[in-house]
Symmetry: C2
Amino acid sequence: MPPMRLAILLGPDLKDALQTDPEGLHDALEEFHPEDIAEIVEDLELDLTLALFRALDEELAADVFERLPSELQTELFEHMSKDRAVELMQEMDPDDLADVVQELRDEDEQLATDLLTRLEAADPEVAEGVRELSAYDEDVAGGLMTTEYLEVGPETKVWQAIERVRRAAVEDGVETIYYLYVVYAQKLVGVVSLKDLILSDNALTLEELMTENVVSVRVTDDQELVAATIAKYDFNALPVVDEHGNMQGVVTVDDVVDVVIEEATEDAHKMGAVEALEEGYLETGVLQMFRSRVLWLSLLFVGGFLTATVMERFSGQLASAITLAVFVPLIISSGGNSGSQSASLIIRALAVGDVTPSDWSRVLGRELIVSVALGLVLGVLGFARAFFAGGPQDDPWLLGAAVSLSTVGVVLVGSLCGALLPLAIQRIGLDPAVSSTPFIASLVDVLGLLIYLTVASLILGLAA
Amino acid sequence: MPPMRLAILLGPDLKDALQTDPEGLHDALEEFHPEDIAEIVEDLELDLTLALFRALDEELAADVFERLPSELQTELFEHMSKDRAVELMQEMDPDDLADVVQELRDEDEQLATDLLTRLEAADPEVAEGVRELSAYDEDVAGGLMTTEYLEVGPETKVWQAIERVRRAAVEDGVETIYYLYVVYAQKLVGVVSLKDLILSDNALTLEELMTENVVSVRVTDDQELVAATIAKYDFNALPVVDEHGNMQGVVTVDDVVDVVIEEATEDAHKMGAVEALEEGYLETGVLQMFRSRVLWLSLLFVGGFLTATVMERFSGQLASAITLAVFVPLIISSGGNSGSQSASLIIRALAVGDVTPSDWSRVLGRELIVSVALGLVLGVLGFARAFFAGGPQDDPWLLGAAVSLSTVGVVLVGSLCGALLPLAIQRIGLDPAVSSTPFIASLVDVLGLLIYLTVASLILGLAA
């Protein structure tokens, strides 16, 4: 395992190695993946990290730096020479650099401005790229894309294009060289893969070779759409255009994998009524964790006051037949559970694009059938439990009927709320995942109580 | 939008085009992405689909065929000539072909055997690859990988390797040509990217050029680990080795994007107490949908009988102070909600590898602090609600104290169950996502009732 060998290498011997054999250390580190080096760097003392960065080639140093947590990036920038910092910035991928600069602005505005001014002087093109990319939100195509890609004219010959690939990879350090985008009058008109290029007759033009129907996304498209498009077509990279169809950048599949994981985590948290966390569970501070939970939990609790109000309304009936109260938790939880099931099915179906709000009538039809069937199964079980429950003053048949009929109603209402509420929330433009399982369950609690207490009072002939 | 133009093209005119201008149709289709053609094919009549497949080049036909639903693949195989079917099979990617064959075996064993025998005669190497890949489960690295990749010896010169890439792409149709894997005595010893290759001196050997610390996975590694590794290192492809380090195949990032989405959907469904579905929400039959929900819902309902049992035990206290019953739904839902929050945080943290079961003591410590703080906030709110609730016979201070103290206890117990149960379930080797939100909520219902009714009975001085 490379990480383990690297850990040993960078352990107690690192200080020695930096002093006695910086050359050897340099060569050894070149062999490792920047991600592995970044993981070790996170646990090093600051002075060792700075020494290590001095020992690395600029390109590898930049690759490692991009992968560090933003607080550490800021700390390193504060302690290394400004010249070295600007060198690193020039070597970074533009999309990563834009992210670093955005974070740096939040943490040390002064330093960010200073470094950007120096970068402007050293390399105006890179500085311009950062400014452009920083203009987009992090969660749209523009915020994900890189401006380093290969752009060629339609008249370019195959041999010229191959030469261009070589130059781009060597001189400009362009990472994504496996597709060439054919641009005419700024418009994206075609795409040629490096594979097609090296397999083709050198004298052909790219216009003759290119695929014209290029799938692309807009700079303002949400990252979920970007991920869905890449997943659908099995692309390694996806071009991004502006509203005029002008080529703006490229999103690569490795960034999309991160997006998909991040979105799934966000949705899972929202479905559990937790505000999305920026960091992992153990990295998030206790206070931050409290904040991410307290608002939703309090809102749900205050919303739950309605259940107490409903219970108060029926306190006469409850007092005259305490057996009625016995089944309150069972009935309302069955509504909450069926609602959670429907909600998790629909929220996920919305997230992956299987269902849209316009499908509401089909969803309604399916949930009606399925939930009545489910309600009947639970109703039979509930009848059996209630039949053997009451005291000597209760009629077991009536009590059984009251519990089983209410169960059918509550499961039906729970499923319909769970399925239709996320659709409605998406329809009005909000994220359906906020109609969390606890939110659905709390809503269904109130409705379930009303159904149960009304149905049971009628069947058992209880007056208020 | 290419799909729209394609839809028009393939509309009423398709039949005409197939008869009058098969050449032109063929050329037009070559311009489109196989995924777009596959989407249209799904809505076509069978005879048109068969005619269309005859009009396509073998390579494009195979690319489209791979993307069709398995029932349609079986139907097409049943209706096209055996020779054409074997031609298609030879053109498919080995990993996709293995999936197709596995599905075909389930649906038409006879046909599967017949086609494999013919494939064996036509191309023994491809048939061998299918047999090897079919041996692995779908959800491990071996089931995801393709056996078509570029393997070279360490002594190979750069110019020979480039020639090998050309040949592989043209003659063998190898898709993943952007990495060359250096293999010595069957062992994976290094990797060289196509980019490094075209930038290097032609006379170098790959041994001099290759990266030796190759990150790889085992054939038996779970697909979640494969996805996490690719995501971590931003790879486009990941080599797969057996237990001896022998090179077996390559997993590409486009397959991993599908895995990540599929796993997130499975987890979301499990967290909502639904059995994972094979197809999308609207594609799944109503009966199948019922089956995916009924078992969990019934189990939770029968488990919920315990709440009725607890209520029966306390029926004396409930009868003597009906105000006690009023707060039952509120208290138990606050436990369920805090449990859902913790569970969604921990289940997701386990899924992305942020937390392992051995972190249980840190998790316990954090949840203790956070949940007591949350419980105090809800306790204050609950006190206010209860203070103004009771009838003339109730002491508002005592009732408020009973509700607020129980709330603190229930939130604490809910959070601890929600956080620790998934860890315990993972520890004993099951999938933590099965400790779904409804499951946690139902467990906490029973515990919450016990806490509330005991605490309240003591504070209010109620005898059984």
